[in-house]
Symmetry: D2
Subunit: 355 residues, 4 copies
Amino acid sequence: MTATEVLSAVRAAVSVPADLRVAVLGVGLMGADHVARLHGRVSGARVAVVSDAATDRAGRVAAGVPGCRVVTDPLAAVADPEVDAVVIASPGRFHEEQVLACIDRGIPVLCEKPLTMDADSSLAVVRAEDAHAARTGRRLVQVGFMRRFDPEYAALRELIAAGGIGEPLVVHCAHRNPAVPAGVTTESIVNDSVVHEVDVARFLLDEEIAAVTVLRPRATRHAAQGLSDPLLVLLETVGGRMVDVECFVSTGLAYEVRTEVVGEDGSAMIGLHKGMVRQHTGPGGAVRSTAVAPGFRERFGLAYDLEVQRWVDAARRGTVDGPGVWDGYAAQAVCAAGVEALRTGRRTEVRMEQR
Amino acid sequence: MTATEVLSAVRAAVSVPADLRVAVLGVGLMGADHVARLHGRVSGARVAVVSDAATDRAGRVAAGVPGCRVVTDPLAAVADPEVDAVVIASPGRFHEEQVLACIDRGIPVLCEKPLTMDADSSLAVVRAEDAHAARTGRRLVQVGFMRRFDPEYAALRELIAAGGIGEPLVVHCAHRNPAVPAGVTTESIVNDSVVHEVDVARFLLDEEIAAVTVLRPRATRHAAQGLSDPLLVLLETVGGRMVDVECFVSTGLAYEVRTEVVGEDGSAMIGLHKGMVRQHTGPGGAVRSTAVAPGFRERFGLAYDLEVQRWVDAARRGTVDGPGVWDGYAAQAVCAAGVEALRTGRRTEVRMEQR
Amino acid sequence: MTATEVLSAVRAAVSVPADLRVAVLGVGLMGADHVARLHGRVSGARVAVVSDAATDRAGRVAAGVPGCRVVTDPLAAVADPEVDAVVIASPGRFHEEQVLACIDRGIPVLCEKPLTMDADSSLAVVRAEDAHAARTGRRLVQVGFMRRFDPEYAALRELIAAGGIGEPLVVHCAHRNPAVPAGVTTESIVNDSVVHEVDVARFLLDEEIAAVTVLRPRATRHAAQGLSDPLLVLLETVGGRMVDVECFVSTGLAYEVRTEVVGEDGSAMIGLHKGMVRQHTGPGGAVRSTAVAPGFRERFGLAYDLEVQRWVDAARRGTVDGPGVWDGYAAQAVCAAGVEALRTGRRTEVRMEQR
Amino acid sequence: MTATEVLSAVRAAVSVPADLRVAVLGVGLMGADHVARLHGRVSGARVAVVSDAATDRAGRVAAGVPGCRVVTDPLAAVADPEVDAVVIASPGRFHEEQVLACIDRGIPVLCEKPLTMDADSSLAVVRAEDAHAARTGRRLVQVGFMRRFDPEYAALRELIAAGGIGEPLVVHCAHRNPAVPAGVTTESIVNDSVVHEVDVARFLLDEEIAAVTVLRPRATRHAAQGLSDPLLVLLETVGGRMVDVECFVSTGLAYEVRTEVVGEDGSAMIGLHKGMVRQHTGPGGAVRSTAVAPGFRERFGLAYDLEVQRWVDAARRGTVDGPGVWDGYAAQAVCAAGVEALRTGRRTEVRMEQR
């Protein structure tokens, strides 16, 4: 048996389509989670490269994944010939450059939100991907709105799409965090937390947001100095539907996401019932209780897994089937209006290009 | 205007049917509750007489009700010409004599369970009321199975009767108390607690119990010395339906009554959902909780009010529309079998006369 | 023996405090319900007089209550010496005159909402009762905001007052009717439906409403021509708390009232969990379900009973312990601002006198 | 360069640990699901070989998996040098021979329940694996009790183990199927359905079952001729705890699994609350509902994925961390007693060897 014969035999034995070799840019909390996910829970992909400005952190993460290399420069990682696809979990200000590099190289990319730092630059990414798609017929960019992959949100959308509650008219959202890191500002609550409800509204109602109003109820004493928390945000769609959002990021309690859609022929709510019912002593006597997830990773862990698995599957087929650059752009445009509404205290119309 | 004319005018002005004048025999916890209920929440009746071996207690209770007299001898209270109807809340060993006195006098009586202390004496009461009804066409005795008046149990029975779950096949009951007074024995758990589930089973399934088995799972460390707590009781109906009952009287937690009926075409459960949902910190993190009633008076307060109001209404019409002596007799017969089953550890058939 | 002596002797003989003799003005749906309630479920009162412009209807209602007379002129009914207290359930435009007549005569009155037709006239009633109270030390008027007597709302207020969720910050309300009668206008939705949420907000938060905004989401196809249904109403309190209200009166489904209060240290919701859980075939497969009340009488029947019982009890003691004229005035002032907000589409400040 | 050197170089170049090459024996419903799971959702393994008596079915399944071969003889599949591990989803009567072959070859095997067809042969498998473990220090066999991997059951066990409800005393289980295939007998309900509750009881209570009683309530009219459905099964543990099981396989409704554990210091229930709450028209009016899973694959899909992923992970480490042969043996011993209890109508003690 010659070496060539052996190699050929080995190839035949392997004979399965090669796993997608992924570069993960940024391995902080979210990026490291994605590495663990791609390595341990997602089929059809492996982490080939990690990149992080903090090289020691990158080294520690790579050490946990056999065959994973550290490449310090993220653009070099995108250009690496042993890389088939990219996950971007770096700080938001680097997203634009990194996504454009992926489009340039023509490889699939899953970019955590935000797509870029403002609506104009997001629109530029839309244009770049359009140009690539015009040449190749392939879209490349998926944005990390992972709630679309959560089984409950997916079921809610399916119900609406199937006409199960008639025409949807009003949506009520609650988005509650137990606490936020120091340095969070009221504007960043709009950009980082409310943005999820913006995408949920667009996803469930299947139309664009036309105007935003942001109200500031009395703040909790647990809020950091100067923070308006909770916020009450009103979204109006181009079709006249309305979405109210309570966004409260210093509840001291738990992570909670609840969405109720009220339609002409019924209503539906997610985020309320989950899991085990316990009976124990509570404040004021015995209670029957269910747990509320302590954080978004517990609440949406399965959604992240499904998001990445489906992104890998689509990437191997040369497609994108999750939220794309337009969704990233639309979210940026709405958040920009939201920040303006926050500053002025007035209803603010969303400025978006025609699709 | 003469005195007579004035009296006549006053009578015309009053001109409403006189309120039912009720004697309450026994004003311990339960009897005092009935006095408060008749006085303050029930329309069409007033407490004319109270009677209790503890005369000071009777005096205190009577003092709170304008126009209410104390009559020490309960049989004298039954015989009192100013008494139209009787509520018996005295210790169970006096019930037989007091109920028979009411039947003798031909006045309506609401008797707390047990009807009497054993099945034979209960059967004697059945015979006595039958004889009275044969002469007058009127039944007189209602037994205090108040759960039949609880809106949830009533709705469950209505659902079954309307065929809403098809033929019922299996019933699961949980009956839980936070604690019981010193002196409670395993036999008395059968007679005083399980008896409610016996009546519930008869009420919901509309047939008699044919056999009882009583099992003793490992006892809680909170149980009093020698007490088998919890118990697992199996009731079999003459039609072959089965009822399992968890009866657990030292949970340390709350008062809980839950009943699930499983039928050929669906199932229904009561006792699980109730009222306000709170979010707060619980064991192991944030929880969403509902309260469990601390005791039977909180859980069944409305049922007691409805029971007594409907008894008053029926008494004024000269009828009984709640559970009657036969129900009291059947419960006694089943509990007698239950106590025997507890002693022998064996399935025990219920011995009852034909109706 | 003089007439007075005879009367006195008769009163002594009866020896129970005389039942409160009530005149019910207006015996349409709501008034007839109050008659049935006073007659059959409330202790300590009886319906002595009914009055209605439709005399045949008044006659039919009176016929069902032994000893009840028809008095055609409502002001004559108020003035009737055999009347001790009044329930006003006539059309709203007659309330002002009837309530003032009761204050003039110095007798207790339970007036269905609205107190009067506008804020100015309500304020005049406040002044009139103030003057009476200054002379006699007694308040006389209770306004029919019966939700305050609903056990769930009462528990929610108690929880807040006890600090159980910390300082309340945001309140979410849903108020849904299956349908409304022909002739209902968008303004009347504010005046007749949203008004309940206005009182709930004031009751729960214990402060006044400072401003109102009314938004009109896309209307359901089930809404009558010209009706903006659903509405989204925002209330801001003087302390900066915010209340959002979805008011949707053509859901085609059921009557639903849900209120969630979000505080600094927890949150609480009522109106979600209730009663029996069924399992049956639903749209799209098997479901586990609880019933939603078909109408407000089913949902709030107990609250009405408790409201009237407590009003009777307080009236017999010479006091008022429910919502008073100030509450009626405040609700009118907020609704007036709401109607203006509806017309202008703008946030509208509430104009109220200092208390 | 020798063939061995080339192979070694190739392995180094590939540089990730080779995926586990799995043979799946039996590709009916369950086996085909496992193939899809290993191929598409499980990381670290690939389906190298499938085997089925129905070779056309095996061919169809293999065609969907790149690099997957069909090997007709299951024992040849076990012996295949390109196979590292085995999943057995063949009919139960073949399990014994196939599991023993895996032990003989010293490779990991995940065997669907039952481990073998009776307790004696299961004990023989226990002995064979013991002998292998004595030589190599490695256990090889995991039995397919996938509920242990369901997040709700896992949380319930964790709660109990952490002392969260005190000492567990009583367990209530409901196991309901919408329908069963023709040919199912009452004995097979015990062996195929109740067996899951047997393992759940052992898993949650962490002790063996000592005795079984099987009761036959009135059967549903939907049951096949001669089938006793529902069954009521009582399990008693060696420590005196009791488990009641309603097993009802012709509900016509949905797949439902509910387990409540009642302890000395609280209780906990799983299987009741799940996901989206809808409001729609139901029987008798509007309802608020949640879906009940139509079948076990929907209910336990995630549990199967987690089971297989964890089995793959453990196999690659050379360990077993799921339920082992002893659990398979214990379940067989309890079911044998259950079948005898079913025949005799009597409480039947479980006969098991000492561990």
